[in-house]
């Protein structure tokens, strides 16, 4: 039996559960209401205010979350890797566990604390007797940003911790004996060697943020519509399948493009 025969079952399964639906989505996006092939759905969607707003929101949320994750992740990884403290190893292990958590769990936890009927507001109303607490940011884009940074930071820390463990500590010691203080060592010795890991982690988080659905849904932020949310509302709420498919195709294109970039970067890192 020729070897390619063994490839048939997985390809068949893949085609059935993934490629065929994907093709349908793409096909649907090129189908006008009348049933003929046309670019009309694209024209309609691109022209709509909702789509442009969702695209902007998605991109800036993703960019903001990525920058936040990079900064926070870099600082936290620095501390874990280079400042010996009791339990440091346990924290590093916990990061691995954290990666396996579902994204909505973080949002749920934040809701418990800062939600409109959460603990923080509960304490406030209990103490002051006011009708409602002062914490409403969770339903704004800032709440989504906070949740995304909280959830995705460990994804940046993983590659960073791996990169930091490769740095020869005698380099840091020699640098300090040459007269460099902590800040200079971080900037000129550690950061340059961590750049590839930062790029890889950042690209990964950017792609994941662009596609994030659970976090946005769970914060219950009415005004925050991202591309995945738009797909959801077009398809499920408005039953406008062509438009939903157009948005989905755009989302896929952006993600796949960024994933390609991520692969190129991570191949250069050798990760």
């Amino acid at each position: 039996m020729p070897r390619w025969v063994w490839a048939l079952p997985p390809v068949a399964v893949l085609a059935l559960v993934f490629l065929y639906p994907l093709a349908l989505v793409v096909q649907q996006s090129f189908t006008a209401d009348t049933g003929e092939v046309s670019f009309a759905p694209y024209g309609d969607v691109f022209a709509s205010e909702a789509f442009r707003e969702a695209l902007t929101t998605t991109v800036w949320l993703a960019l903001g979350a990525t920058v936040g994750c990079l900064v926070l992740g870099f600082v936290l990884a620095l501390v874990i890797a280079f400042v010996p403290f009791p339990g440091g190893k346990a924290v590093a292990k916990f990061i691995d566990v954290f990666l396996s958590f579902p994204s909505f769990l973080i949002t749920l936890a934040l809701l418990f604390i800062y939600g409109s009927v959460g603990m923080a507001n509960g304490v406030w109303t209990g103490v002051t007797g006011a009708a409602e607490g002062p914490f409403h940011f969770l339903t704004t884009p800032w709440g989504v940003l906070l949740a995304e940074i909280t959830y995705f930071t460990p994804f940046v820390m993983r590659p960073l911790l791996a990169a930091f463990s490769q740095i020869d500590t005698s380099q840091l010691e020699v640098a300090s004996s040459l007269g460099a203080r902590t800040w200079r060592i971080v900037r000129q010795v550690i950061l340059p060697e961590a750049l590839p890991a930062l790029a890889a982690g950042g690209a990964l988080v950017l792609v994941m943020c662009l596609n994030e659905f659970g976090i946005v849904l769970f914060t219950g932020a009415k005004g925050v519509t991202t591309l995945p949310m738009l797909v959801y509302s077009k398809a499920i709420l408005e039953s406008d399948y062509p438009a939903a498919c157009v948005v989905a195709v755009v989302n896929i294109a952006i993600s796949v493009g960024l994933y390609g970039m991520y692969r190129v970067v991570s191949r250069r890192v050798g990760a």
Binding site: D168, S170, Q171, E173, S177, L178, G179, A180, Q188, E193
Partner: protein
């Protein structure tokens, strides 16, 4: 500003584990002091205490007249070279060398000349634009030395700088380091090594360390010709250590009278006699020892014979010039050594 390093009963401990036990040692300005010892002897810890990477549990460290015990590493003004070079991989050779100058806020206009000077001194001037990964191990170590010298330190710490190089490069670099020291007569050098040849070649004085303590300190000649302890005798060079009883005009070894200088040791005391293997001769002579050959190692220019001597079958090593006919195992031979080539080590020294 004077250089020199002074340890005043410096102890270092990790938890209950004492890794350096009240070290008292002075490195004079311009002196090369080798810290020689096996791994775990505390020699690297002593160097790290000077650099500021370990905090002494007690005692004080001085550089010149300055007490640096509480100073952070970046304020000590020390040049340091480590075994694995530790060059910054993303910086070119010239930027590696300039790193310390920039960190110390040396006038920008002055930096290129200082970098060129340091690279010139180590013979790496033509490699200024290369990256470390484009250099061989020996070249990387030269850059590391240039980087340490560029900041014009008064004290240079070398932590096993040649251990990662192969034997041939190592002897070349030894000569290079000796030349650098002649060109920089004011710099005090603390040189940590486990290699006796490096220590004997380079050092003005050697501090022998073992089990977290300073065991002995002296010039290479003193330590080699007149060691004071068994450890020094066996670690600085090779040694036969024979358990002997001090007699009236010599010592008694396994029933044989040997005439050596007893240096006034009390009669009847137990002591150890140290004889270097290359000073033991084959054939009849003064202080003859009879025995049988138990092992022969041919080393090219020499033969090393292991001879079991006397009733106690003590193993005596003899390094003799290459023999025309390799001795046969089990052959009866006579060894001898001159009285002045034997050193009686302090009576009461524990066996080892």
């Amino acid at each position: 500003m004077s250089s020199g390093i002074r340890f005043e009963s410096v102890s270092v401990a990790y938890g209950k584990n004492v890794v350096l036990d009240s070290l008292d040692l002075t490195v004079e300005p311009g002196e090369v002091m080798a810290l020689l010892g096996p791994s775990g002897s505390g020699k690297t810890t002593a160097l790290r205490a000077v650099a500021g990477f370990v905090k002494p549990a007690s005692g004080r460290v001085f550089i010149g007249e300055r007490d640096v015990t509480a100073l952070p590493p970046y304020r000590r003004g020390i040049g340091m070279v480590v075994q694995q070079y530790a060059l910054f991989p993303h910086l070119r050779v010239e930027d590696n060398v300039a790193f310390g100058l920039k960190a110390q806020k040396v006038d920008k206009a002055e930096i290129p000349a200082r970098v060129a000077e340091a690279l010139e001194m180590t013979g790496m001037a033509s490699y200024a634009k290369r990256y470390p990964r484009e250099l061989s191990g020996g070249q990387q170590q030269r850059v590391a030395i240039a980087r340490a010298l560029a900041i014009r330190p008064n004290v240079l710490l070398l932590d096993e700088p040649l251990s990662a190089l192969d034997a041939q490069l190592r002897s070349g670099m030894l000569a290079e380091l000796a030349r650098l020291h002649r060109e920089l007569p004011d710099v005090s050098i603390l040189y940590v090594t486990h290699d006796q040849v490096e220590a004997l070649t380079l050092a003005d004085r050697i501090a022998v360390m073992d089990k977290a303590r300073l065991q002995d300190c002296g010039t290479p000649q003193e330590l080699y010709r007149r060691p004071r302890t068994e450890f020094t005798a066996s670690f600085v060079g090779n040694a036969n250590l024979l358990p002997v009883q001090v007699g009236a005009a010599g010592v008694r070894f396994d029933g044989v009278e040997l005439s050596v200088d007893t240096q006034g040791a009390a009669e009847g005391a137990s002591a150890t006699l140290c004889v270097r293997p290359h000073l033991v001769g084959l054939g009849e002579g003064p202080n003859a020892l009879r025995g049988t050959i138990s092992e022969v190692q041919w080393r090219g220019s020499t033969h090393r014979l292991y001879v079991e001597v006397g009733e106690g079958r003590h193993r005596v090593k003899a390094d003799v010039r290459e023999l025309r006919e390799t001795p046969v195992l089990g052959e009866d031979v006579v060894l001898h050594f001159a009285a002045e080539d034997a050193v009686l080590l302090g009576a009461g020294v524990s066996g080892g």
